[in-house]
């Protein structure tokens, strides 16, 4: 069947099987492999993206459910080559190691900061409780999100040394 939706600001129309999961749609059909898949049971959060501005687990969402709606993935966080403050925060505070949980964490964190500009540690921990990370023990993820809250205007990130540019 045919679905049309907006993905990262672009309208896409594709012919898909009705049973296709949204995570497979964005990864395999659209080639947006930043969204990951890590479990069969909606427990890990590696697949989190936004559906109409709300973080959802795309492994438990059918692609057809996104029909006529808008999807935002990690690939859309950096704008014009400038990292979103949450991305910058994860770099500054070493909020990632293997990077596999990171896109889901970033999408959850961005949503949190959009709704609570200055969350305390406990609020952050509750917000990311549906996103499992096996590498960082969460400590630096909490710090990363705090960093982003403290640098919401993006001023700092312009000035930040471009470790980025080295390998980008």
């Amino acid at each position: 069947m045919q679905v049309t939706m907006t993905v990262n600001g672009n309208e896409v129309t594709e012919d898909i099987e009705p049973r296709l999961l949204l995570v497979h749609f964005v990864r395999d059909v659209l080639g947006l492999t930043g969204t990951h898949w890590g479990c069969d049971t909606s427990n890990c959060g590696a697949c989190v993206l936004w559906l109409d501005d709300v973080p959802v687990k795309s492994c438990t969402t059918l692609a057809v459910m996104a029909s006529g709606r808008s999807v935002r993935t990690v690939e859309d966080l950096a704008q014009g080559g400038v990292l979103d403050p949450v991305q910058e925060g994860f770099m500054q505070e070493h909020g990632l190691q293997c990077g596999f949980c990171t896109p889901g964490m970033l999408m959850t964190a961005r949503w949190l900061l959009d709704h609570d500009a200055d969350p305390d540690e406990n609020t952050i921990r509750e917000a990311i409780a549906g996103n499992v990370c096996r590498c960082t023990g969460y400590e630096n993820i909490v710090r990363s999100i705090r960093w982003a809250a403290a640098h919401a205007d993006g001023a700092e990130q312009q000035a930040a040394p471009a470790t980025d540019e080295v390998t980008a």
Partner: protein, 817 residues
């Protein structure tokens, strides 16, 4: 030197961007603001991960690529009567259905394990664990491959299963490995270390002997990325390329070469970005082999990525050690002896990954951090109808089990003697002047100051105040919770290992490294080890930067591709920095030595007249007469007349054979609160003082420790792969294999002491597994301290805690109640 994070305020502490490596002089900063050497440096690899541009195996898309799926056994032990694949083959999108019978024609139905056993790739006779691979379907897309699995009709004749290792050696136990000739029982080996007679003597004379049975349950590394592969056998060139989740690309290539009879140069193993490993991605799994066979049969690339249940049920588990410990001491608390009998459950195939000489891994380091008159261990390993594996989940080759055993036994002794567990440890720790120290089971610890680490941990914790708080709480009849304080002191032996002692499948555990400085002074470093999140692209660049003064952003680190890296055994057992880190340092020093001679030729002086100063050689007493490493690199590639016998260019190739293991250590303290009503455990604080020698990048070291502490919390409180009597795995999804989330983990309080390794070129000791090894005992000890109970087995779930309180501890690794 120590640094400490204060609880509760860490998120707001501004972080210095400059070098803060203890034990190393502060490195100068590069133009990009990075330390030219050791120090806190943001990771080079983050740029791609943050943008969703990481390249994991499942992200590989090739033209014409097909998709594979594995049919698995629902039974733990059953003879296969028949397999009918006709309906699956008739599926319009199916390209191939592979069974054990098909593999037999290719001589691939069985493959060697890393422990000299064999393992079934696709079952030909009987299934030996639930989730074992029975058939492989290749189809146009993943969904169709899964559909076709449903169309395969397998008739099984179920057999009684061995699930409880304690029953594996019963005379009437079903024989699991009837495929092995001459085998009549389920025993894999008996192995011992230490001096049994001396131990008997010590125990017979001791004032106090405490015995305790304990189970280190079966757990799973469960990296967030499951295992998978994309195989492409190019029918024209005859070259096999396999993108795969491997921590050891070169070892895998050699194994494929042996199994498939292909020469190494016709096999390229690419380990792209790896979403966590923790030992789960050391072995070769049947799915990898099936994707290769699928590609050979179809002439197309074939992708296979397991789902989470497949990962938990069939790939390398960890632990499953049943231990009987005995500790002997004087009434005053001087520890005299330790002995332990282990029953090791290896599952259906002996597939542990560890140095050949040590079938129980490094478990015989179980004497830990104390001084003894004698010690002895005996390990008996058995087959069971469970998935194979055993050495995984950041265990340092079974040192996790060893540390848990000794640290629990010391607490049991403290309980028996009514002594404070910290005081008992302090009384018995090895003293700094005893190093290098040879343990009763033959390990030679390189260096350490154990009392300093324990003192530091107690200082950060405020140990005496905590005990006072606990006493007050215990005296309060209205308190709703019980407070516990738990300690653990660990010593690990990592960096396997010296070639004369250590190999895997005959491959010596040395690692290669190529360093090439380009004419413009930028460099490329090629490694045999493989990052799964450890940040090698950053850390190894810092090692070369430290030695050569080249900014780390100008050093490209290449890994994870056998066509582009030197041979070596890969990353596990915390061996990257101890082995490959040394290789990188030695390579850089060779380049530096050569650069001195070239600088001297150019400055028309003797090399002896030159002095090194942060990336340049200058004439002693005349800093203006100098050549930078970049200038020397250009000269080396240019027309300068070089001394007799010296080749041009500026590069070095090194194979590093570690002379010994390195021995990181640490003192951990956890504080827990146990709800009296529900038995729920909350980890209130965790203090970790680690000594891994000088820290190349303290930010990365701390991150490794944080992750390991979360693992420890998971194992101690939540994680277990349990089985029902018939071998049904009840830990096969994240619904019942519980991983710690942000809510179960506290904000950690880290400290450090720095005792360099005397034999490592950089003095560094490795840290990847320290916290996973050291933390479970600290948490269990804390919970039992809260409950004032001598022992209960992990995981200490609310139900297990509640039962233990009723005086009825159960085997939490079995769902049989």
């Amino acid at each position: 030197m120590t640094t400490t994070d204060t609880p509760g305020t860490t998120a707001d502490v501004p972080r210095a961007r400059t070098a803060e490596a203890a034990g190393a002089p502060e490195a100068p900063l590069s133009a990009a603001g990075n330390p030219i050497g050791f120090g806190r440096m943001l990771r080079k690899e983050d740029a791609r991960f943050l943008r969703g541009q990481g390249k994991y195996v499942d992200d590989v898309q090739l033209p014409g690529m097909l998709h594979g799926a594995v049919l698995r056994s629902p039974h733990a032990h059953a003879r296969i009567v028949s397999i009918d694949t006709s309906a699956a083959e008739a599926h319009p999108k199916v390209r191939a259905v592979i069974t054990g019978a098909v593999l037999e024609t290719l001589n691939l139905a069985w493959m060697p394990t890393l422990s000299g056993d064999v393992q079934s790739v696709l079952c030909t006779d009987k299934v030996r664990f639930q989730g074992q691979e029975v058939a492989f379907v290749v189809a146009d897309d993943h969904y169709s491959a899964r559909d076709a699995l449903e169309l395969i009709d397998v008739e099984y004749a179920p057999l009684p299963a061995v699930v409880d290792a304690r029953k594996a050696l019963d005379p009437d136990a079903p024989l699991i490995r009837d495929d092995l000739e001459g085998r009549t029982d389920n025993k894999i080996y008996d192995w011992e270390a230490g001096d049994a007679a001396a131990c008997d003597d010590v125990f017979s004379r001791a004032d106090v002997v405490v015995t305790q049975d304990m189970v280190y349950p079966r757990v799973h590394p469960a990296p967030m990325e499951t295992c998978g592969s994309v195989a492409h056998m190019d029918p024209v060139s005859g070259k096999l390329t396999i993108w795969t989740t491997t921590q050891a690309p070169h070892a895998h290539r050699t194994l494929y070469a042996i199994v498939a009879g292909l020469p190494e140069h016709k096999i390229q193993v690419i380990s792209p970005d790896i979403g966590g490993g923790f030992g789960n991605k050391v072995g070769i799994y049947p799915g990898y082999v099936c994707s290769i066979v699928g590609s050979i049969l179809t002439g197309k690339p074939v992708k296979w990525v397991e789902d989470r249940s497949e990962n938990l049920m069939s790939t390398s588990f960890a632990r499953d050690y049943h231990m009987h410990g005995e500790i002997a001491a004087t009434r005053e608390g001087k520890i005299l002896g330790l002995r332990v009998n282990v029953l090791a459950d290896h599952g259906a195939f002996n597939g542990v990954a560890q140095p050949t000489k040590y079938p129980a891994g490094f478990f015989h380091i179980f004497t830990g951090s104390y001084d003894y008159a004698a010690a002895h261990c005996n390990v008996t390993a058995v087959y069971s109808n469970k998935a194979p594996g055993g050495v995984a989940y950041a265990c340092s080759f079974r040192i996790t089990e060893a540390v848990y055993l000794v640290e629990r036994m010391v607490d049991c002794l403290a309980d028996e003697l009514s002594m404070d567990p910290a005081a008992l440890r302090m009384q018995n720790l090895l003293q700094p002047e005893q190093f290098p120290y040879t343990t009763p089971t033959g390990w030679e610890y390189d260096s350490g100051n154990y009392p300093a680490a324990l003192t530091e941990a107690m200082r950060i914790a405020g140990y005496d105040e905590l005990r006072a708080e606990q006493a007050a709480l215990r005296a309060d009849p209205d308190s709703t919770s019980m407070m516990g304080i738990g300690l653990s002191f660990f010593t690990e032996g990592v960096g396997a290992g010296p070639r004369k002692h250590m190999d895997i499948l005959g491959l010596g555990m040395a690692d290669g490294c190529d360093l090439r400085v380009h004419p413009t002074g930028k460099a490329v470093l090629r490694l045999s080890v493989q990052s799964q999140g450890q940040g090698h692209e950053t850390t190894f660049a810092q090692i070369v930067a430290q030695e050569l003064g080249i900014p780390p952003e100008d050093i490209e680190v290449v890994h994870g591709d056998t066509d582009n890296t030197p041979f070596g055994l890969g990353t596990y057992g915390s061996r990257s920095t101890p082995v490959s880190g040394a290789a990188a340092a030695v390579a850089a020093r060779r380049v530096k030595d050569k650069s001195r001679i070239i600088a001297a030729a150019s400055l028309e002086c003797s090399p002896d007249d030159l002095e090194w100063d942060h990336g340049r050689w200058h004439v002693k007493g005349d800093p203006n007469q100098a050549k930078t490493i970049a200038e020397i690199a250009m000269l080396a590639h240019g027309t300068l007349e070089l001394p007799d016998g010296m080749e041009g260019h500026l590069d070095a190739q090194v194979v590093y054979d570690p002379p010994e293991l390195t021995y990181p250590f640490g003192a951990y303290i956890s504080v827990v609160d146990v709800d009296k009503g529900t038995g729920a455990v909350k980890v209130r604080r965790f203090i970790a003082v680690d000594d891994c020698g000088p820290r190349i990048n303290p930010m990365i070291v701390e991150g490794q420790v944080h992750g390991g502490l979360a693992d420890g919390i998971g194992m101690a409180l939540m994680e277990v792969i349990a089985f029902e009597e018939d071998g049904n795995n009840v830990g096969g999804s994240f619904l019942n294999y519980l991983l710690p989330t942000s809510m179960e983990c506290p904000s950690y309080e880290l400290g450090q002491t720095v005792t360099p390794s005397p034999h490592h070129p950089l003095g560094v000791k490795g840290v990847g597994e320290s916290a996973t090894v050291g933390s479970p005992a600290a948490i269990v000890n804390a919970v039992l301290d809260a409950l004032q109970i001598r022992h209960a087995d992990m995981p200490l779930t609310p139900a297990a805690v509640w039962r233990a309180q009723q005086g009825n501890p159960i085997r939490t690794d079995l769902a049989i109640v």
